[in-house]
């Protein structure tokens, strides 16, 4: 007996199918085109002298000796570059009252973090540039350093930005329902203070840029390892006053980004200026040490939160105060307050309660900037909410699954608005909870846990529900005045041989964007996938769009491709109908052949239509103008965001003598709407979870009290490695969004959103017999042993 036929059994049905990424072979064969590898004729190399001080006045810079080194072409300071580049400010209008100081490519009078680039040298090799750096003398005058949250908030304390009244960047408040009343009448209140350390992206390929200004043409070409070429085209054009059409940004293969490479970096802006000053291509690749002190960091929150419940375990209210420290500037152009904003808005998102109050305070300090990195704000909101839920469950003697089942918004109750004001179209918490419970063999794990405890082995089981923000509309950045698009564009054309080229504005960072776009095009047109070529990441070639970030590539880019393909198909069938003397509606395309819709009989290959249209238009009826290239844009409408949801589970073992934690197994049930490529979705989830597990147990940028990063190397900064990673079991629930034909939502950040929360709950579960608790991430052996009072 054979399985029943499904939609996946028809020809060219690629949506929902695990097909390999067309670019995987090229990358595995070492044929990637990374900016790090690029070598242009007459190219020079930049290196930067960095500040050893976290806060100091630049008294003088002496560069004569460096300029005299053979092979050095230019030594440039902040003053030199400020003459050709206008400053930028990392604020957005919809964050009312937000402030941040103006920034230049290199500082003109003050350094504000240790590791900040101060002077640039351009030479015939990186080695010569580094030789010259050693000959530059900068005279600094120390200024008071602000490194921790409390000293930054001290009245009358040191100020990071002269002329400001305090070190506050932004404050925000939310107050919905009757919070005071709910807490006053609650049967139970749980309360805790949580801390979340800084961590950073640690991409395989560091930041890399080659700027190539051609003075004869007045044109700038920038090869840039970034997620967002269009954003940088706009910024280079406006800050260096070059007409937009003469700025081209090419972002081909990129060795990882995770949000880190969509921000403006001082060195990158400087390299553009250096190329303009020299009229030659200039390359800069950050080395690993430079990456640690200049890539954006993320998180760094201290959250005090409490939750009110009634006697039966119904959540009544939450109150949250988030303090987050972002560095000396807010990042441009997306700001450094989006994370805090999402922290206070995602709290409690899976649950039904309506009373919510939150305050957010974003604070400057003398460290490198923090900004958007995979799962912006989600891990903090998730860890705080889910830990409080577990604390409440313990207090009420409820099982963690039971209290969640009791409080999540029921799957049949949508649409709903969260207590923080987010509008949810349709989520599936109940289905995910049920599925995870089975998948984990939860009851079996609990029985085993009890058994092992008798033998002195302490296992912990943790779960965490989450909601993820995907498919952002202009409500995300556009309304704040940022020139960051929430729409995407695609240009599709049928080649003379009947193949399809798709130029699309979403970008590929290794997650398989090009693969899913080719699946959608092939599926919708009726063509073998290998006859579709997808081209991304070149502002001269691909239409303007948002590119790939905030989990928008599949949902918005995919819908753009779907609609563009349907338009091309209509145009092809119009010509086919003329040739075949049929109505277009009577025809369809299957496997590259025009067929009768009713009988599926083959009539004419689309390659023949292309041949006739391109080479024998004389044989078509007079007045016919075949349009075998279409361009199409799609901007999300309807809900401002497509929220997704899911739940994760974690099984681990704590060595209560050493504080070391062994991850045994991890589970996720996730609902990202329509799944286009199950294999890619699963690997996105796994990769995201691993990054979340890194944050949970290993990754932290640690600073000395003078503002020096003390672990800025891969020997000291611990990224998650295969030996420590558990198997990850994945399940899916599919609730497509009705806002698009495709129905896809994002998935790239779901793994990271809840992995650390899940580990936090599991560790606390393991430590429960000792009455010890931990509410700080990362969970280090020291924190475990301190909680257990072992030393």
């Amino acid at each position: 007996m054979t399985a029943p036929l499904t939609s996946l059994d028809r020809p060219n049905s690629y949506i929902g199918r695990s097909v390999p990424r067309p670019n995987a072979k090229r990358l595995l064969a070492g044929r990637g085109r990374y900016v790090s590898d690029l070598r242009l004729p007459r190219m020079l190399y930049a290196a930067f002298l960095r500040s050893p001080h976290a806060h100091a006045k630049i008294v003088s810079i002496s560069t004569e000796q460096a300029r005299a080194v053979e092979g050095v072409h230019l030594v440039a300071t902040g003053v030199d570059l400020a003459k050709i580049c206008t400053p930028w400010t990392g604020t957005l209008d919809h964050f009312k009252g937000m402030t941040s100081a103006p920034q230049w490519p290199l500082p003109v009078d003050r350094v504000v973090w240790a590791g900040q680039a101060v002077v640039a040298v351009v030479a015939e090799s990186r080695a010569i540039a580094e030789d010259a750096l050693e000959l530059i003398e900068v005279d600094y005058e120390d200024l008071p350093v602000v490194v921790d949250i409390d000293s930054a908030r001290e009245a009358g304390g040191a100020l990071i930005n002269p002329g400001s009244v305090n070190n506050t960047c932004f404050r925000s408040q939310l107050d919905n329902g009757t919070v005071d009343d709910a807490f006053a009448h609650a049967a139970h209140v749980v309360e805790e203070e949580f801390t979340f350390g800084r961590h950073t992206a640690v991409t395989l390929e560091p930041r890399a840029i080659v700027a190539d200004y051609d003075p004869a043409d007045g044109a700038l070409t920038v090869h840039h390892g970034t997620q967002t070429p269009y954003q940088f085209q706009d910024l280079y054009s406006r800050h260096y006053n070059i007409p937009e059409a003469r700025v081209r940004v090419i972002a081909t293969d990129i060795g990882g980004s995770f949000g880190m490479k969509l921000h403006v970096y001082h060195e990158d802006m400087a390299v553009v200026g250096l190329s303009i000053l020299l009229g030659r291509p200039v390359k800069y690749v950050a080395d690993r040490m430079e990456s640690f002190v200049s890539d954006i960091h993320a998180r760094d929150h201290r959250v005090r939160a409490r939750m009110a419940l009634d006697a039966e375990g119904e959540i009544l209210a939450m109150e949250v105060e988030d303090l987050t420290a972002i560095g000396a500037f807010s990042t441009y152009p997306r700001t450094s307050v989006v994370e805090g904003n999402q922290v206070i808005r995602l709290m409690g998102a899976p649950y039904r309660f309506k009373n919510y109050r939150a305050t957010l305070e974003v604070i400057f300090q003398n460290k490198v900037q923090t900004s958007q990195y995979r799962a912006v704000g989600h891990p903090i909101a998730c860890a705080v909410t889910e830990r409080l839920v577990d604390m409440a469950a313990a207090k009420l003697r409820l099982d963690p699954f039971a209290i969640r089942a009791q409080n999540v918004i029921p799957d049949d109750a949508y649409p709903q608005t969260s207590p923080t004001g987010y509008r949810f179209e349709a989520l599936s918490h109940q289905a995910c909870l049920t599925r995870l419970h089975e998948m984990m063999d939860y009851d079996g794990l609990r029985a085993k846990q009890a058994d092992l405890r008798k033998r002195g082995i302490y296992r912990g089981i943790g779960i965490a529900t989450f909601v993820e923000i995907t498919n952002p509309s202009p409500a995300f950045y556009g309304v704040g005045g940022a020139r960051i698009s929430s729409q995407d564009g695609a240009i599709l054309n049928l080649t003379p041989s009947g193949e399809v080229r798709c130029l699309i504005s979403v970008t590929e960072q290794g997650q398989g964007t090009e693969a899913i776009i080719s699946q959608i095009v092939a599926d919708q047109l009726g063509l073998a996938q290998d006859h579709v070529k997808v081209i991304t990441g070149d502002t001269e070639v691909t239409p303007h769009g948002g590119a790939t970030w905030a989990c928008r590539g599949a949902g918005i880019g995919g819908e753009t491709a779907l609609q563009a393909t349907r338009a091309l198909k209509r145009n092809i069938l119009e010509i086919a109908a003329l040739i075949l003397q049929e109505q277009p509606s009577a025809l369809d395309i299957v496997d590259g052949q025009v067929v009768d819709t009713a009988t599926r009989n083959q009539r004419i290959p689309i390659s023949e239509i292309a041949r006739i249209a391109y080479f024998r238009s004389d044989t078509l009826p007079p007045g016919t103008q075949a349009q075998l290239t279409v361009s199409h844009h799609f901007a999300p409408q309807g809900y401002p965001f497509a929220f997704t949801n899911g739940i994760q589970g974690c099984l681990l073992e704590v060595d209560v003598e050493t504080g070391l934690i062994r991850l045994l197994k991890h589970f996720i049930v996730e609902d990202c709407g329509r799944v286009i490529n199950p294999m890619l979705v699963d690997e996105q989830l796994r990769g995201g979870i691993v990054q979340g597990l890194g944050a949970a147990l290993f990754e932290e940028c640690r600073y000395s009290d003078t503002g020096q990063l003390v672990n800025g190397s891969l020997a000291d900064y611990l990224v998650p490695m295969p030996m420590e990673m558990p198997d990850i079991v994945i399940g899916h629930v599919e609730t497509p969004t009705a806002d698009t034909e495709l129905g896809a939502k994002g998935v790239g950040e779901a793994g990271t959103a809840a992995a650390s929360a899940c580990v936090l709950n599991a560790v606390n579960d393991a430590l429960a017999p000792f009455g010890a608790t931990i509410n700080s991430i990362p969970i280090t052996p020291m924190k475990v042993l301190t909680a257990l009072k072992r030393f």
Partner: protein, 293 residues
């Protein structure tokens, strides 16, 4: 990546490939001691790239035959200085006659580093967090040194002086390490506590014990990652000599560590925590030694 032109670069230096020990020593002297010997380069090359070190001359000693090979010499195993970490895992003579080194080797970094890093280089650098220098102490090894004034052998106990400081004088290099052959009346154990496999350990320990029946006749316990040098814990050793390995003795040895160790301040592993971990590890290793009977 285009390493030639974009990576962090060392300052320029001259390079000399020595064919014999005398060539190497001579080149060093001629450079006025502004020179470094290089073998596996697993610590030196990063230091050069970071410009933490910038010698005028690099003397490549990897082609000196006399520094190679593992063989028995009387009551010792002679391990040539160029013996690579990976050979500690694959060389049968080491597994048989220096099983403590064989047991420690998998904990030395990662395969790529083990493929290049050398035993002599590791001992010469004397990183207090490295496994092999600490194990030379547990093994009562002797380090053979060649220098301008000839050859000498220094006991491991006298070799490690302070942080990255050893009995090696400028212009000297290690030629071989002599390890007493493992005997039937001996037992060994090695383990370490690390947050990730292959990382520098929070604390690590190797033990070589000689038994007279069920009683410990002699024991050498050496720690890594507990101070400025690889560290023998003589107080703990003393509590065990002449005794059976029972719970009371193990607890006494653990307690004695407080007098043996003075771990440095560290933001991630405070001294009291490191001492606690050293005790836990000692308890586990002595427990294993007891079971190995």
């Amino acid at each position: 990546m285009d390493l030639g032109e974009t990576a962090v670069k060392a300052r320029a230096f001259s390079y000399f490939r020595a064919a014999t020990i005398d060539h190497a020593l001579d080149a060093h002297a001629r450079a006025g001691d502004d020179a470094r010997f290089i073998a596996g380069g697993q610590s030196l090359v990063p230091a050069l790239s970071l410009r933490l070190q910038a010698p005028r001359l690099m003397i490549d000693i990897t082609h000196i035959d006399e520094l190679r090979g593992v063989r028995r010499e009387g009551g010792h195993l002679r391990i040539g200085a160029l013996t690579r970490h990976c050979e500690m895992l694959s060389e049968p003579l080491i597994a048989e006659f220096a099983p403590l080194l064989h047991a420690a080797a998998p904990f030395v970094a990662h395969p790529a580093i083990r493929n290049r890093g050398t035993f002599g280089g590791s001992v010469a650098l004397a990183d207090p967090a490295s496994e092999f220098p600490a194990m030379t102490l547990a093994l009562d090894a002797e380090i053979e040194i060649a220098g301008p004034s000839g050859r000498r052998r220094v006991r491991a106990d006298d070799f490690f002086i302070d942080l990255f400081e050893t009995a090696l004088q400028p212009g000297e290099l290690i030629t071989a390490i002599y390890v007493p052959l493992f005997r039937a009346d001996q037992r060994f154990a090695f383990d370490e506590l690390a947050r990730r496999r292959g990382d520098y350990a929070l604390v690590g320990c190797g033990i070589l014990a000689t038994f007279a029946g069920e009683r410990i006749h002699d024991i050498r316990i050496s720690y890594l990652s507990v101070g400025n040098t690889p560290t023998r814990v003589r107080g703990a050793e003393a509590t065990l000599v002449g005794s059976r390995l029972d719970a009371v003795r193990i607890a006494a040895a653990q307690a004695a560590l407080e007098g043996d160790l003075a771990p440095p301040e560290s933001d991630e592993v405070p001294p009291a925590m490191r001492l606690h971990l050293a005790r836990v590890l000692l308890g586990r290793l002595l427990g294993r030694l007891g079971e190995a009977a």
